[in-house]
C-alpha cells in the first residue's frame, strides 16, 4: 500500500519527465476464487483456486525469456480487540513460470522444492498454477483457543531477478500485482 502510494506520488511528479509509458502489463482478472482448509492428522492443508490473468503481453514477455513469479500468500491472524492482530503464520508459496525456448514449453517451478512441471501451452500452465491443493500451512499446536482469521491472496511479479535489480524495480514495476485478500474466519 505504502509503496503504491509512493509510486503514485512519484509517478505523478515525474510523468512530465517521461518515465516508461504505462499500460498495465498484468491486465486481467487476478483473484482468489475460492479457498478452504481441511485438517489431516493435525495438519492444516490449504486448497485454493486462483484465477490468473492471461494476455498477449504476458505471453510475449515469457517468450522473450522473462520469468514470472506467482506468489500465494497465506496468513493466519488472531484478532485482538484493542490491539493489532497477532500474526500466527505468514507463508508464501512461490512458483516461477518461464518459457523454455529450447523445448518450446512452459515450465512451472516450485522455488522451495525445485520441483518443476512443463506444459505445452500457457493456458495449461496457468491452470496448473491456479490450482493449489493440500498446501500445509499450520499444525494444530500453533493454535490456541479462540477465533482465527485466515487470509489468502495471490500475486504476480516479474521474478528471478538479481536482488539489486529487483530493488530498482521498486521505482517502476508494472509487472507486479496482488489480488485482494480472500479471508474467512476459523473458529477453533
Amino acid at each position: 500500500m505504502l509503496r503504491r502510494a509512493f509510486i503514485l506520488l512519484l509517478a505523478a511528479a515525474l510523468t512530465a519527465w517521461g518515465g516508461p509509458a504505462g499500460a498495465d502489463a498484468l491486465d486481467g482478472v487476478l483473484e482468489v476464487r475460492s479457498a478452504y482448509i481441511h485438517v489431516d492428522k493435525g495438519v492444516f492443508l490449504l486448497n485454493a483456486r486462483i484465477e490468473y490473468p492471461i494476455n498477449p503481453m504476458i505471453h510475449d514477455a515469457l517468450k522473450d525469456g522473462v520469468t514470472l513469479s506467482f506468489d500465494l500468500e497465506a496468513r493466519v491472524d488472531r484478532p485482538r480487540r484493542f490491539w493489532f492482530d497477532a500474526t500466527v503464520v505468514n507463508l508464501t508459496l512461490r512458483r516461477e513460470l518461464s518459457y523454455h525456448a529450447v523445448s518450446d514449453r512452459y515450465v512451472v517451478r516450485e522455488v522451495r522444492s525445485g520441483k518443476q512441471e512443463s506444459f505445452a501451452t500457457l493456458a495449461e500452465a496457468l491452470e496448473y498454477l491456479g490450482r493449489v491443493d493440500d498446501w500445509p500451512i499450520l499444525v494444530e499446536p500453533q493454535l490456541g483457543s479462540g477465533s482465527y482469521r485466515i487470509s489468502v491472496r495471490a500475486g504476480i511479479r516479474r521474478g528471478r531477478l538479481p536482488a539489486s535489480l529487483r530493488a530498482l524495480l521498486f521505482w517502476t514495476d508494472d509487472w507486479h500485482r496482488v489480488s485482494e485478500w480472500y479471508s474467512w474466519s476459523l473458529p477453533v
Partner: protein, 743 residues
Amino acid sequence: MVATGVKPNWRAVAVAVIWAAAGLGALLLLAKSVQNSDQFSRAQPWILLLNVIGLVALTIVLARKLWQLVRDYRGHVPGSRLTARTVSIFGALVVAPLLIVYLFSLEFINRGIDSWFRTEVKQGLTDALVLSRAALDVRLREYSRRTEQLARALSGTPREGMLALLEEERRATSALEIVVYGELDRALAATSNEPIESLPAPPPADLVRQVNQRHVYVSLEPQSGGQYLIRTAAPLADVPGAAGVRYVVALYPVPPEIAALSEAVQRAYSQYGDLAALRDPLKYSFRLTLTLVLLLAMLAAIYGAIFSAQRLTRPIQDLIAGTRAVGKGDFGTRLPLPSRDEMGFLVHSFNDMTKRLRRAREEAQRSQQAVERERERLAIILARLSTGVLAIDRQLTVRIANQAAGAILGADLSSATGRPLTELAGGSARLGQFVEAITQRFAAGREEWREQLELGGESGRRTLMCACTPLPVEEGDVGYVIVFDDITVLLQAQRDAAWGEVARRLAHEIKNPLTPIQLSAERMRRRFLSSMSPQDAEVLERATHTIVQQVETMKQMVNAFSEYARAPDMKVVRFSLNALVAEVADLYRSHEPRVEIRLDLDERLEAIEADRGRVRQILNNLVVNALEALESVPSGKLEISTRLETAADGAQYAAVTVCDNGPGFQRELLGRIFDPYVTSKPKGTGLGLAIVKKIVEEHAGRIDADNRPEGGARVRVVLPVADSTRSAGARERRPDLRKEKRA
C-alpha cells in the same frame, strides 16, 4: 543588542549536524540499495520516505529562505545584497558542476544500459537457441520415427506379445520407458529401465489430444537439474470393435552433454530476457535515483550557500546596525562576537571603539555637568551680587549681565544675552550714557581702566564706580568684563554724615555765644532803660529787642540743624494719612489763598503706622517748598495725591506725591536736591528737603524728586503702611546707615 559573548549556537550546530547526517545517511542508503544487497529492498520504502521527506522539507526551508532573501533584498535590508551575491555565486558554483555531472551521468547510464542489450547479443542468443533446437530436432525426429515404427509393429501384435516387443525395443533404443495405453488411457503394457513399482503416470493431456487425432506426438520435456526427456507417442492401428484409441508412449533420455549445452543456452536466454525486460525500468530507476540525489544535493548546496552566506553576513549586518546606532548616539551598542576569525577581530574592535566612545562621552558629560554646576554657582553668585557685572565682547554684545547690572543701569538686561548693548541703550538714558562712556574708552584704546562715571537721568544722577578688564574669551577674540557699583547712596550717606557732624558742631559753636549775647542784651536793657531818656530808652528798647529776637531766630536756626543731626526718636502711632493730608491742605489753603491746592486721595488707604508729627513735618516741608516755588507763578497749582501700592512681596506702601506747576528743579541740582543747603530759592534754610529725606529714611521709606514733563516739580514719598514692614526694612538698613555714619 545584547552582548552574548563568544558562545557558539549549539542548537544550530546540532540541527546542522542532524541534517547533514540524515542527508548523508539517506544518500548512502540509496546508493547502497542500488548496489548489491537484498536487505535494503525491504528498507526501501523507508529510504524513499526519508528521501522524499528530506526533499520536501528542504524545499520548504529553502523556499522560505529564498523568499526572505528576496524580501530583504527588495527592502534594502543591510547585508542582503552581500548575501544575495554570495548565494548566487555559491549556487552557480555548485549547481553548474552538479548539472554537468548529472547530464553526463544520465547519458552514461542510457548508453551503458543500452550497450548491455545490444542486438548482436540478442541475435547470438537466438542463433544458439536455433542451433541447440536443431541438434535436438534430429533426435526428436529419429525417436518419433522409431515410435511410429513401433506403433505399426504393435498394431498387429496381440496384447500378450506386446511386452516382449516393448522390451526389445527398449533395449534397442535405450528408452527409459515404453508404455502402451488402451482405451480410457489405461496402460496395456509397460516396460522401464527401472523397476516398476506402480502404474505409470497418466500421459499429458496434450499428448492424448494429439494421438486421439491420429497424429504422432513428440515433445522435449525439460526436467529439474538440467535434464531433458523426449516423450514420443504414436497411435496404433484401430482394432475393429474397440472403443478408444490405443497408442504407445516412449520416453527417451537426451545425452547429458547435449542436455548441458542446451540448458546453458536456455539459461542464458532466460537471463537475457529477464534483463532485457528490465532495460527501461532500469534506466528509469537510475534516472530517478540520480535526479533525487541531484535535487537533494542541489537544494542542500543552495541551502548551505544561503546558510553560510547569512552566517558570513550576520556580523556585517550587526556591524551596520551597530554603526547606525552609534551614529544615532547610542554608544551602549555591543555586538555578539561571531568567532575568533578576522570578522571576530573586527567586531571586537568595534565593541572596543564603542566602549571608548561611551567612556569619552561619559567623561565629557561629567565635565560638562561640572561646568554647568560651576556656571550655575557663578550665576547664583552674580545674581546675589549687588555689584553690577557685565561681560561683553569687542562688538559690545552682551555675554553675561547680572540682575544688579540691570537695576543699576535702569534697564532690563534679563534677556540681553547675545544682543549688542547699543541696541539695548534705547530703553534707558542711563544705559545710553554708560554705553557711550565705555565706547569712548574702547575707542581710545583703553582696555583696562577703573573710573567713576556720572550718569544723569530723569530720576536723578547716579555715580558708578566702574572697572573694566579684558577677558580672553575664545581664540583670537577678546571680551571685557565690566564691574560697577552704584556708589550714589554711599556718597550721599557720606555727605549726610558729614553734614550731620557739621550741623552738630555748628549748633554748639553758635549756641554757646548766643546765650551770653541774649543775657547781655537783657541786662543792658534792665540796667539802662530806667536811667535813660525816653528817646534813648526807645532806641535801646528796640535794639535789645532786635538782639533778643535775632538771637532767638539764630537759636531756632541752630535747633533746626540739631534736629537734622539728632538721633531718631520715633513715636509710632496708627493714624489716617488721608486725614492728615487734608488737615495740612486746609491749613495752607487759609494761609495761601492765591494757590489752588487740590487733593487726590486714595480711598483704599485707611491708616498707616508712623510717627504722626514727623509725617506732618514731611507734608509741611513739601507743601512749604512747593508754595515757595509758586510765589512767582501767577496761577499756582498744587496737587497732593495719595496711593496705596502693593509691592511684589505683598508689603503695602502709601505713596504721597506733591506736584506743582512752578519752575521745577534745576537739572544740575537734581541729583543733590536732598542734600542740605542745596536750594535754588532766594530764602529758606536749605534743610527742608534734607529733613524730609531723613524722616522718610527713618520710616524705611523712599523719596525721589524729578521734574514733570509738562513743567513743575514732583516729589514722591513712599512709606510702608505697617510698622512691621518698616522694622524688617529698618533692620536691613540700620547697620549700613550706622556703618556709613561711623565711616
